[in-house]
């Protein structure tokens, strides 16, 4: 039997600790250790260290991070298919706008430097929901009405519309308001004359633009979630995630971090992150609402930021504790504020569901995701939440429940960013839960809506007509 040198023995530490040495090698390994104090000492050290170092596992990416990565992979694989139409994508992962809220984003704001957007005659958006008195041109918009480029959209007080852009962005506009969409899917220019606009924008490629222009402000984003309010008192911009570079009329530039705001009515376009401006961007009138409501909103947003940070660090339990503390500390006046703490309140509830998911409390997470749907959160958020619930159910093997959630996700935002994925999920779930009739119906719908989609082959098989 040939003996081993010290270097050979060390090279076999891992195999020995993992039980991968064959019997003959194991004998030689241990024989060497018996006769070599130095190797014996080192083997003992590394036998103790190796499992400890292996156990120091970095936190796995949370559900939001995973979705962000999926979206970005999708975009990169699409290889320049900016509009990401189903026919052009060569795989069909989703573009959930809400999932992108934490994407690294650069938002550039120019004050009083609005420039005309390029003209185009091709519409790139559709109105997916209408509330109250809304006009597209001189008519009331029908269901899924396409919005011609340059066509004015007018909203009365209390009215609201939701638009889905072909590039994956969603807009929620509240009246009283006036706006028009110019440019193209790759060069979006939204002129907001009046009203509150909340946008969730998928990450833009270097050669794509997404601009919102008001009388005072020009906001250009690469991918983020932000709100713009245009009113008689001026314009107000809030960025939830990413960084904002503000170019003022005098040419100077200010950087504003995520969570901070910019108000064109402040001296020199002053920006605030914590104290000086209302944290929740409401209508123009809301900007001047009572300080207590603004304080509640700021507190909610501070909590949301801290929760996101804890989740990024993988500390879901801390995130859950912070959310619970925030709820216990909810102030009595909160209910009387317009919309409570506004969008942030929904965001906190969504983060709660995400933290439960990350903590492995899957049933609780599913319940929390579904609760967002019941409470009437914004449609993109509801779709995202229900889609996440469906994915959990599917991983748990509860195919029928997954199918129901996929279908609810479909209904939440029929033209939302997760529409195709939810439809595929519903189709697969129906097939998996032994409901071939439903699977065929969904497959037929899929082929109608995405005739060249990536699940078209599967859908054709379900319909029974084979590959096209």
């Amino acid at each position: 039997m040939t003996g081993l040198r010290c270097a050979d023995v060390e090279a076999r530490f891992v195999d020995a600790f993992d039980g991968r040495l064959d019997p003959a090698e194991s004998v030689r390994f241990h024989s060497h250790l018996e006769g070599c104090a130095a190797c014996r000492e080192r083997a003992a050290l590394w036998r103790a260290l190796t499992p400890r170092m292996r156990e120091a596992v970095p936190p796995a990416p949370d559900a939001m991070a995973t979705r962000r990565m999926r979206i970005e992979i999708d975009r990169q694989l699409a290889g320049g298919a900016a509009a990401s139409s189903p026919a052009r994508r060569w795989w069909s992962w989703s573009v959930p706008a809400f999932g992108l809220v934490a994407a690294a984003a650069i938002v550039v704001v120019w004050l009083r430097v609005g420039r005309p957007a390029p003209a185009s005659t091709v519409g790139y958006a559709a109105i997916t929901a209408v509330r109250g008195d809304a006009r597209l041109g001189d008519r009331a918009p029908g269901a899924a009405a396409r919005v011609p480029v340059g066509a004015p959209i007018a909203l009365s007080a209390g009215a609201a519309v939701e638009l889905t852009l072909d590039g994956g962005a969603t807009l929620h506009v509240e009246g009283p308001g006036r706006l028009a969409l110019e440019g193209s899917a790759r060069d979006v220019a939204i002129r907001l004359g009046e009203g509150k606009l909340e946008a969730q924008v998928t990450h833009r490629r270097a050669d794509e633009r997404f601009v919102v222009i008001t009388k005072e402000v020009r906001v250009e984003v690469r991918g983020t979630r932000f709100a713009v309010v245009a009113g008689a008192a001026g314009s107000h911009v809030r960025v939830t995630d990413g960084q904002v570079a503000v170019q003022l009329a005098d040419g100077s530039t200010r950087l504003v971090s995520a969570g901070a705001e910019l108000d064109s009515t402040m001296p020199d376009g002053e920006t605030t992150a914590e104290t000086d401006t209302p944290a929740d961007v409401g209508t123009a009138a809301d900007v001047n609402r009572s300080p207590s409501c603004a304080g509640i909103a700021r507190s909610c947003e501070a909590t949301a930021r801290a929760v996101r940070a804890a989740m990024r660090a993988g500390d879901s339990e801390r995130a859950l504790r912070m959310i619970a503390d925030a709820r216990r500390a909810a102030r009595p006046g909160e209910a009387s504020c317009p919309g409570g703490a506004g969008a942030c309140d929904d965001e906190l509830r969504y983060l709660h569901a995400e933290a439960l998911n990350q903590a492995g409390r899957l049933d609780d997470a599913v319940a929390a995701y579904r609760a967002l749907d019941r409470r009437g959160a914004p449609s993109a958020m509801r779709q995202n939440a229900l889609y996440a619930a469906a994915q959990i159910e599917r991983r748990q093997g509860r195919t029928a429940a997954a199918g129901a959630d996929f279908e609810r996700a479909l209904a939440a935002a029929p033209r939302g960013a997760l529409h195709e994925d939810a439809l595929v999920g519903a189709m697969e779930s129906a097939q998996g839960s032994g409901d071939p009739a439903r699977a065929r119906a969904l497959a037929t719908r899929y082929l109608r809506e995405f005739p060249r989609g990536l699940a078209a082959l599967v859908a054709h098989r379900l319909v029974g007509d084979g590959p096209p």
Binding site: A7, E10, A11, F13, V14, D15, F17, D18, G19, R20, R42, L45, W46, R47, A48, L49, T50, P51, R52, M53, R54, E55, A56, V57, P58, A60, P61, A65, T66, R68, M69, R70, E72, I73, Q76, L77, W90, W91, S92, W93, A313, G314, D315, V424, E428, L454, A455, L457, V458
Partner: protein, 205 residues
């Protein structure tokens, strides 16, 4: 049962379900892409994070890994496990990122070990801080040594598999792992409390 926990054995045969997924993904089945991503994103993220630490671009590197992998899928012949092949791409991506971070570095092995970033043992009281400690130790290693150490010692790949992943000879990998161990041993000798801390953290988990 091995002695060091529940690390997967990378030398095991390709699970049939993974082979089927890869086959479907080659035919551009979106569900297969989705399942491959979800079943491997954790492992890829772990390797990337161990290679680059808590950098802000970890997600970008993971994304790039999958993009390169899915684009190269037609070239994947199935000679290696899909996970091994993916790890090879992840290492290539992270090494590129490390090189970009050290512009002007002609030979990574000529770069001096960076100064210690390991926190003092008094601060190391939780699993999270243990992770910081381990990542600090890894960050002190030269990139090629770090890659060999991470893949062989932490991820459990055999020397031969690591050699294949790194496109290096087995002898070179053995030397890199040996050098990495020596560096860590030196650090632990300089501060023996680190060993105690690591042991205590392990016992707590």
């Amino acid at each position: 049962m091995n002695e060091v926990g529940d690390m997967p054995d990378p030398s095991r045969p390709q699970p049939p379900q993974v082979a089927a997924l890869v086959d479907r993904a080659r035919r551009r089945d979106p569900a297969a892409f989705r399942d491959l991503f979800h079943s491997h994103v954790g492992a890829v993220h772990r390797v990337v994070r161990r290679m680059v630490g808590g950098r802000e671009d970890v997600e970008d590197l993971v994304q790039t890994t999958f993009v390169e992998a899915f684009r190269s899928l037609p070239d994947f012949r199935g000679d290696a496990l899909f996970s091994t092949w993916l790890t090879r791409i992840a290492i290539r991506v992270t090494m590129r990122a490390v090189r970009r971070r050290h512009p002007g570095t002609s030979s990574l092995d000529e770069v001096a070990e960076p100064a210690s970033v390991t926190p003092g043992p008094e601060r190391v009281t939780s699993a999270r801080e243990t992770l910081v400690l381990v990542e600090g130790l890894l960050a002190e290693l030269r990139p090629k040594r770090r890659a060999a150490f991470v893949l062989h010692v932490l991820e459990g790949y055999s020397m031969e598999e690591v050699a294949a992943i790194l496109s290096a000879s087995t002898a070179a990998v053995k030397v890199r792992v040996h050098d990495a161990r020596r560096h860590i041993e030196r650090r632990l000798k300089q501060n023996p409390a680190l060993v105690t801390t690591l042991s205590r953290a392990g016992g707590q988990s």
